[in-house]
Symmetry: C2
Subunit: 304 residues, 2 copies
Amino acid sequence: MSAMFEKIAVLGLGLIGSSICHGVKAQGLAKVVVGHAKSAETRKVALEIGLVSEVFENPADAVKGADLVILCAPVGACAALAAATGKYLREGAIFTDVGSVKGAIVRDCAPHLPLNVHFIPGHPIAGTEQSGPRSGFAELFHHRWCILTPVAGTDLAAIEKLTKFWEALGSNVDVMTADHHDLVLAITSHLPHLIAYNTVATAADLETVTDSEVIKYSASGFRDFTRIAASDPTMWRDVFLNNKEAVLEMLGRFTEELAVLQRAVRWGDGETLFNLFTRAREVRRGIIAAGQDTAAPNFGRDKS
Amino acid sequence: MSAMFEKIAVLGLGLIGSSICHGVKAQGLAKVVVGHAKSAETRKVALEIGLVSEVFENPADAVKGADLVILCAPVGACAALAAATGKYLREGAIFTDVGSVKGAIVRDCAPHLPLNVHFIPGHPIAGTEQSGPRSGFAELFHHRWCILTPVAGTDLAAIEKLTKFWEALGSNVDVMTADHHDLVLAITSHLPHLIAYNTVATAADLETVTDSEVIKYSASGFRDFTRIAASDPTMWRDVFLNNKEAVLEMLGRFTEELAVLQRAVRWGDGETLFNLFTRAREVRRGIIAAGQDTAAPNFGRDKS
């Protein structure tokens, strides 16, 4: 494929940023890819493993002349990056991000961006529990969805171009409002992470069961939760601080449902338990049929 | 290895029962392995794929002459199997099970068993989300733990023999009381399953987010929960009906911790969130160091 962009600036070189760099290089989507990272160590690694051709401490230096700028920082750091780079952006550039929350990104970034730049918030629904510049890989976005949340009036050609960019990285692309995105992700991502963190914390705080017992016997279910709970704490703190309303709504529903299950356990109501467990199984089948998870038992991890 | 047992009777030929059959054959642990299954279809499959040399509709026919009998049925079906087979057991036989709950098994099975039989409840901490006679494989128990919960006074030679049996299948073996087992498993297994089922049910019941959206965007966390929630509904109903006290205790603690997290979200208390998330990450490291999960990102399932 011929290069879609002259120069891509990736601001933040963690799991998502470094995966984009790998994917862009693998597909030849840009003539030049430059980066910015706050940490000197990350900047060093980024050059060492060839993520970018140049890396800058000051994000303003990275965005100059770029026709695509991608914010790949924790949600809470995005407004400062928009503020620091806004006046240096090239006319007609596409300015996007990969944050797990979209309403707050629009609210916090838009005021800093000039009107001659196409601001199209985005969110690739992909990731692993790992973080840092060495954790990325080009295939991270394959068969995953990327959601774009442009505001009304955004240039259609720019949306089309960013769509093609994500498709070239292997993703499917959906467009929706920022509000709907935040509601959908609150249930598919934010609630599961909060619940996973909470389950791990509950286990770690027991007096009657030792930490070493929890670890030894974790293959019985608990270990799945710990993978999610190993995700980057800064990123996740920012998600919960910036999608409060939707997360609280989902938490309320979760707690309500849990009260029903708890009552069924207390009263020995096997029928309620069995029916709910049977229904949950169907959702799993849907996810496998949609190609969003492996059908292999235990995610295929026990092949040894 | 020379055969440790003359004849092993496996009562119930689902995931665990069929995995034991495969492991016993692979290691040559018995001269003869026979089975019992309630369903005619399962009995047919068991012979077809060579799990056992003979299979019986009546469990009493299976246990005759066996020096090791292993109950591999849902917890709620174990008492009836003990009642049906007790008087046909060979003198000096070891009678064990694989149930996820131990207190109720001891309470319900022991009264049916003759005193000249060694009753040693057991629980291999291993499994997948799949079920049925075709789901088993010999390696299921490799590097996993198996917990035995013999009552005081149980013949030490019999415990030693059953320990060696599980070790030959690839497991490590621990011995503890049934009560402590039920508490440990309530946090490492029963609570995570209940929470996973509840999360899936919460998502399925939303009016504002469609089922197809939940499925499409599940790679952001939710899909991990659906694997656990795809486990056998009968087995799990029986677990919750038979480990009520410990599950309610863990649920109470979980809800308490969740209230703290929910409050932190509501009040924008980033420090509480960050600290808890950071602590959870450590537990994951412990599990990987103990060989109880893979260190590969996303459990290694995204290698494509």
